[in-house]
């Protein structure tokens, strides 16, 4: 299908993937410098899933993700400056500093929240899809989650409900082979933790190369089409890999060297870059990269210059109006 990808599309993809990669590299540095508190979960190596899925969606579709959600938010158009600011806990953060790295939310771009309790956002995504159906909005709700999330109860309830109500939901599993430090085959008895469950809900389950942007776009496209037709949800399992550890300073030594090597060879950003270089005029890729890098530098500078939230905002937004 890659044949159908235009140079403009490849350019957009590389731009966004470079942006995400560069964004997360900077977050990692900020974390090492002690400027980011708590924890942060990078999606380095998994960018293709977010970019490919976004390429298949309409601007008013909804996405919901997890604590490992920078890539989804940026791919949907969240401003890097407000994302940096959020992760740094500044007043200009997209959540006014209240959410942090794990809870990026940007309703203006359909990013309906990043959730940090494994599985919780699947039922919520189903609720968005249900809402679309009731209001006849034609929107789909895409829910990104990890392979390990397939073992928690909420996964089952959400997929079952979406299936019986034929809701326009798309369950995109980013199977990066580990939940924290545990290999998925140690905690799940089937080969494809998400897709192999689809038959149990009478819905399609597809397994795709999660490092191939076009493959993801196509799979989500088919799923979105089905969803908008009222035919119900789909499970898309994208096989991918995180280049780094689960979070923070995890050196990820529990992973076999060859495995890591294998996947580094299949870096999705490098792949798109190669594709673009094959079709675009020389220098296009470098130009895109430089632009992304400059954009990020400006965004980070802006975020770092922003003040902490005013203490008076502490009790804002617990309720619509203070009690």
């Amino acid at each position: 299908m890659n044949a159908a990808v235009s140079t403009d599309e490849l350019t957009d993809w590389l731009r966004m993937m470079t942006l995400i990669r560069g964004f997360e590299e900077r977050v990692k540095n900020l974390f090492s410098q002690g400027l980011v508190r708590g924890t942060t979960h990078l999606a380095t190596g998994q960018e293709a899933v977010a970019v490919g899925a976004s390429a298949a969606l309409q601007p008013d579709d909804w996405v919901l993700g997890t604590y490992r959600g920078h890539h989804h938010a940026l791919a949907r158009g969240m401003s890097p400056a407000s994302a940096f600011a959020e992760i740094l806990g500044r007043s200009t953060g997209v959540c006014r500093g209240k959410g942090g790295s794990m809870h990026l939310t940007d309703v203006s771009h359909g990013v309906m929240g990043s959730y940090a309790i494994v599985g919780a956002h699947l039922p919520i995504a189903v609720g968005c899809a249900w809402s679309s159906k009731i209001q006849d909005l034609g929107r789909v709700a895409v829910c990104f989650f990890g392979d390990g999330t397939t073992t928690i109860g909420a996964f089952h309830e959400a997929v079952n409900l979406a299936a019986v109500w034929k809701l326009p939901a798309i369950f995109v599993c980013e199977n990066n082979r580990y939940s924290e430090y545990t290999p998925i085959d140690q905690v799940s008895p089937v080969a494809h933790a998400a897709a192999d469950r689809a038959a149990g809900y009478g819905i399609p389950g597809v397994v795709i190369d999660g490092n191939d942007v076009a493959a993801i776009r196509d799979a989500v496209d088919v799923a979105a089409d089905r969803a908008r037709r009222g035919a119900g949800p789909t499970i898309v399992e994208a096989e991918t890999y995180r280049h780094g550890g689960h979070s923070r300073a995890d050196p990820a030594t529990y992973r076999p060297e060859q495995e890591v090597e294998h996947w580094l060879q299949r870096d999705p950003v490098a792949a798109v870059r190669r594709q673009l270089e094959a079709t675009a005029e020389p220098g296009r890729a470098e130009q895109v990269e430089t632009e992304a890098s400059d954009q990020l530098d400006r965004a980070l500078e802006e975020a770092l210059a922003a003040p902490e939230p005013d203490l008076s905002t502490l009790t804002d937004d617990v309720y619509a109006r203070a009690l």
Binding site: A120, I124, V126, W165, D317
Partner: protein, 324 residues
């Protein structure tokens, strides 16, 4: 005005909400075609059909999640959790998701949903179908929590909850289903956070909630008739927000406070009320605040044990008489 019982008022209240606001949808287990496990939603499915009234699988996490997602995207869902105890299986959805979404998103997400559940002991349903969890819910910032004690309040508080921009949990009580009252035919609303004085009195203030309100009222009648003690009875109605002003005004006059609550004592809402009044009304008090609560046990099945577990008018009267 129409005389209506509490059970019927539930369907009436939901019906009014569905009728007056197209954004309202109602979902839960057996709430539609079957009219509810307690027949408290009879007629809604027939009137509003399957696009407004949704029968769900036994999936409480998905029920609350569906309501939350819908509330975030323009609807005003009312979700039923059949028994309050079952909030346990979707506690994360209620306490960690619904309650925190607005705050964590810096105000971007709104979750104007209502979760209703039938709670309470006294009917022989055993330890896993008889709890009242107003206190647990009260401890979670981000949600509002109310518990009507009369048919009028069932409708009025529900109307307020549906109109509210925040998530509201409404806990109805199974032991009140047959309570009757005149209910206005025209639309009305009972504001959240406003207690109701059910009986005025001068010698002491009894504060109660839900099924303990009639218990307190009955105790007050006995105290008056048999002991010449004049008790004021305040129906708290909502625990979040708490109507501290009404409480303090009353205690300022009566100088004595007793809480009457149906839940085990530790960290009950009575402890919170008592602590608030002890802090803010310390100088009003002539005697320690007393708490009458359920026994600190899971709700037992046998009739005599169950009745000994929850407060009744007798236990309240006795507690008042032995008030130091």
């Amino acid at each position: 005005m129409t005389v209506m019982n509490y059970r019927k008022a539930i369907a009436e209240g939901i019906g009014r909400a569905l009728r007056s606001d197209q954004r309202v949808v109602f979902l839960g287990e057996d709430v539609g075609a079957a009219g509810g496990a307690f027949k408290s939603t009879v007629g809604l499915y027939e009137e509003f059909g399957p696009d407004r009234v949704w029968d769900t699988p036994i999936s409480e996490q998905a029920i609350v999640g569906a309501a939350m997602g819908a509330a975030m995207t323009g609807l005003r869902p009312i979700a039923e959790i059949m028994f309050t105890d079952f909030l346990g299986v979707c506690w994360d959805m209620v306490a960690n998701q619904v309650a925190k979404a607005r705050y964590m998103s810096g105000g971007q997400l709104e979750v104007p949903l209502v979760i209703r559940a039938h709670g309470g002991a006294g009917l022989g349903f055993g330890a896993q179908h008889s709890q009242t969890w107003e206190n647990l819910l009260m401890s979670i910032p981000g949600i509002k929590v109310a518990a009507p004690s009369t048919p009028r309040d069932v409708i009025g508080l529900l109307a307020a909850a549906v109109a509210d921009p925040d998530p509201v949990i409404l806990l109805e009580h199974k032991a009140l289903f047959d309570a009757k009252e005149d209910v206005p035919d025209e639309p009305f609303l009972e504001p959240l956070g406003s207690a109701s004085i059910r009986r005025t009195g001068d010698d002491l203030t009894l504060v109660a909630l839900s099924a303990m309100v009639p218990v307190a009222v009955q105790a007050a009648a006995t105290l008056e008739a048999e002991h010449g003690i004049s008790a004021e009875v305040i129906d708290l109605r909502s625990v979040t927000p708490t109507d501290t002003a009404t409480l303090l005004q009353s205690v300022e006059r009566t100088s004595r406070l007793m809480t009457v609550e149906e839940n085990p004592r530790p960290c009950g809402w009575g402890a919170e009320i008592a602590s608030i009044v002890a802090e803010e009304g310390f100088t009003f008090l002539d005697a320690p605040i007393q708490r009458v609560t359920s026994a600190n046990v899971p709700v037992p099945f046998a009739a005599n044990l169950e009745h000994a577990t929850i407060p009744n008018a007798d236990t309240v009267v006795k507690a008042v008489l032995s008030y130091s």
